[in-house]
Amino acid sequence: MIRERYVNAALLAGLLAVPLYALLVDEPFTITLATRAVILALAAVGLNIALGWGGLVSFGHAAFFGIGGYSMGILAFHAQNFMPLDLGFMVFDGTKSMPVIWLVAIITSALAAFLIGLLSLRTSGVYFIMITLAFAQMFYYFAISWSRYGGEDGISIYIRNDFPGLNTLVPIQFFGICFAALVLALWLNARLVASPFGLALNAARQVPVRVQTVGLDPTRLKLVAFVISGAITGLAGALFADLNRFVSPSMFSWHLSGELIVLIILGGVGRLMGPVLGAVLFVALEHFLGGLTTHWHIALGAILLGVVLFARGGVIGLLCGPKGQS
């Protein structure tokens, strides 16, 4: 456990050091790459709460990522085009303010997670995996046909949204925002795991029948975990959209859901920093292997296979030993 703490601290420090170094040697692309890793990590941290602690293998977290993305896209679209959004009961100008966008992203993705979770939790195992996929696919096809917001082409946002007191167009400042969000999510995750709710959720994953016999409802615990999880992934979606200044239906695609799962397993399921390590490794491999050969996917596949076959418990498991052992 002590060792895992060192590894976690080193990982966060490294994640902070790389873009700072890039700033010194003036390599803005590296900063953008690090920002991408941080945002993917944030999305995966969200998923890990459902998957790692709740045992809910959601193959549809792209739904929340996309909802976060489209929250940003729609609000900024109306603001930049000076086209008020008529909601029926009120008219809204749209906004370019990140905090407002985040709030909307979190609330809408939490709401979606509540509804999807409520229905999906009637099933379990592979059926749960597939029903969550189904809901994400519905959003995907809906976004494709939503011609008002670009349909298949998505929405481009000309200028990155604002954050009070910062210039978000400067890569390092936007990185700072994303990094802060990730640290906040990790802090929340750590508190959650140690809380009464975390204890009950952890047991609900392992022995739901035991949780019932002490008078608690495992399904409700899992639903709440799913909502928190979806909200965090939704926030990551909003940041991702701001990074690219672009949203499209591909944010809802099953590839993204799959990629998030893969990040977590690569790093370590149910480990606080598992998703972060997974995201960093994934983005780094993508970058370095991709620079070496166009067929880098073969190498990536071989590395992932190696992790499954020889490092059960992901890379964190390899570095720090199995979960829960000191």
């Binding site: 508190r191 959650l192 140690a194 809380s195 009464p196 709710f197 975390g198 204890l199 009950a200 952890n202 047991a203 392992q206 022995v207 029948v209 035991r210 949780v211 019932q212 016999t213 002490v214 008078g215 608690l216 409802d217 615990l221 709440v224 979960k323 829960g324 052992q325």
Partner: protein, 249 residues
Amino acid sequence: MTDTVLETRGITKSFGSLCASDGISIDLQAGEIHAVIGPNGAGKSTLIHQICGGLRPDAGQVLLQGQDVTALPTAARARKGLGRTFQISALAMEDSVLENVMLGALGASGRPWRFFVPVMGDRTLRDRATAALERVGLQDALHSRTAALSHGQRRQLEVAVALTLDPRAFVMDEPMAGLGAEGSKTLTGFLDGLRDQAPILLVEHDMDAVFALADRISVLVYGRIIATGTVDEIRRDPAVREAYLGDPA
């Protein structure tokens, strides 16, 4: 005048053509240990599931302290004071012994919706949990991983979790299963003292334990209670001897 804590009234449950519970009426009085015995496939597990809420009977009622709980799910029955132990230990194996018992204490407190305070810092829960562990003699294994416990210790932990709920009645599904002679003896001694806290409905295969503990015994054969009585009455009952102990009458 005795005090009925737990009762089933004519509960019936069929799976296809198999009638696993055929109008079972059984009751548990304050201060007693009531053992249910029967050959394999007699329907003991089905009975327990219906009492604890895992299965809904086709007909009949389950009453806890006079209140009809037939329609309530497992968790609600637990909150009303039903403490259960499992035949095959249902424990969070990845967690520590203390965490497993804390879960019981948390369930008893009814306050799992706290997201930011560390659960291990909650004195009330922790006192309750450690008290239960001390009662079953597991206080030295507090921080062991549950997966590392011996079989006997897991049985003790099962009982400790039930204890944290401070239940009105215990339902125990073969607590002696898999224990050696020594372990059975220890647990028998412990259960003997437990009946004063709350009565125990004990489903058990270990006849030594049953005869040592039970105030009353009910014999379940093919989904029906064929006899209920004291240890001596059951030993003498010709129907029981024929159906269960295998003696020709």
